[in-house]
């Protein structure tokens, strides 16, 4: 816990937006922009200017009055505040289509999310090498999580096997899970689960299009 958070509770929505700010700021940095003020940054992120200032103020005072924010230092500050200024070691469970796809997605590692071990319960898959990693049996998980300092679990099984996968992860001592399977899972209170489900956004599009929102 490096940077002590200024105030108690930080809205979940703020965390989501910080991820967007990083995205946009990194784009600006690449274009050579060195300083930006809250309003243009806000516009690029489709939010309100005060929102940006308030979100950042939860973590400290990063701006210069009358000037704005320095892009590069701001990126670093946000990353530090979020705790993404370091490597996070990840175990992936479920080496099917989706799992393999995500293993090939190079952006994970670039951003510090490093898949270091992969598991499956299918005996035909165990031992196979995928993207440079050997597929291990789920019963080796406890040992490997411990030995390899793994902190995060990623579930990419079919929906009906997600619950069991999460059980394995929890038993291995994992307390942060990212669930890519399209089903809900039950875990003890101290375990945090985040869901990644493309269909939520598909459904939103479909609904709005059906309602004639965009015509």
């Amino acid at each position: 816990m490096n940077r002590p958070v200024k105030s108690k509770h930080i809205p979940r929505a703020t965390i989501r937006r910080l991820a967007t700010y990083i995205q946009v700021l990194e784009g600006l940095a690449q274009e050579g922009v060195e300083v930006i003020s809250s309003n243009p940054l806000a516009e690029a992120c489709d939010v309100n200017g005060s929102q940006v200032r308030k979100d950042l103020a939860y973590f400290g005072e990063f701006g210069i009055r009358g000037v704005g924010y320095q892009v590069k230092p701001l990126i670093d500050s946000i990353k530090e505040s979020l705790g993404v200024d370091r490597e996070w070691r990840i175990a992936l469970v479920g080496v099917g289509n989706l799992g393999k796809a995500l293993l090939n997605h190079t952006e994970f590692r670039q951003r510090g999310f490093n898949i270091v071990a992969i598991f499956d319960c299918d005996p035909f898959k165990i031992g196979e090498i995928v993207h440079g990693l050997e597929v291990h049996c789920t019963k080796d998980m406890r040992m490997m999580v411990d030995e390899m300092n793994i902190e995060v679990g990623m579930i990419t099984t079919p929906p009906e096997r997600a619950q069991r996968a999460s059980q394995h992860l929890v038993d291995a001592g994992i307390t942060s899970i990212l669930n890519f399977a399209s089903s809900r899972i039950k875990t003890p209170e101290h375990v945090q689960v985040e869901y990644v489900d493309f269909f939520h956004q598909f459904y939103t599009l479909a609904f709005n299009a059906s309602q004639g929102l965009n015509r």
Copy 2:
């Protein structure tokens, strides 16, 4: 616009939850559950019981007082309300790792989201067959969108090419875009964009874990 929405504005959050309800209800249906009341359904979705009742009430009266909701009819009603009770035809732009991965993800088609045409601007990829579809040049997009009744665009390019991809889609008359690239895009007002970004959830996990939320 089949089912006229009962009240004017429906919270965005409600739409997201409806997607979750479908997920959970389909699981229940598969287990043979025929009727469920709001509280157990709510618990399975990690929300409050009144929330479920209120969300559903936006679209009509689907329940039986003193009994609950019939699972299968409820699924159909929600799907109809969302506009996902039919096929949506999709163009995918960017046949790289991520694009290929999503083409292999069979759940899309199962849920009515059917990728029917794929595009790339790389001359070496054009003509290649991926998952049964020929890669077309982006300049053919306008014609194909029209001919094939495509309504939705999916962007799976690298971040720096997402803006150009969206321009092609908009020029072809697409008004609903799902952006899987990790960059923001600018579109005319009448075009609706939804972002799918895994890193939002990763960052949330990392932040909460760093704050010692789960220990």
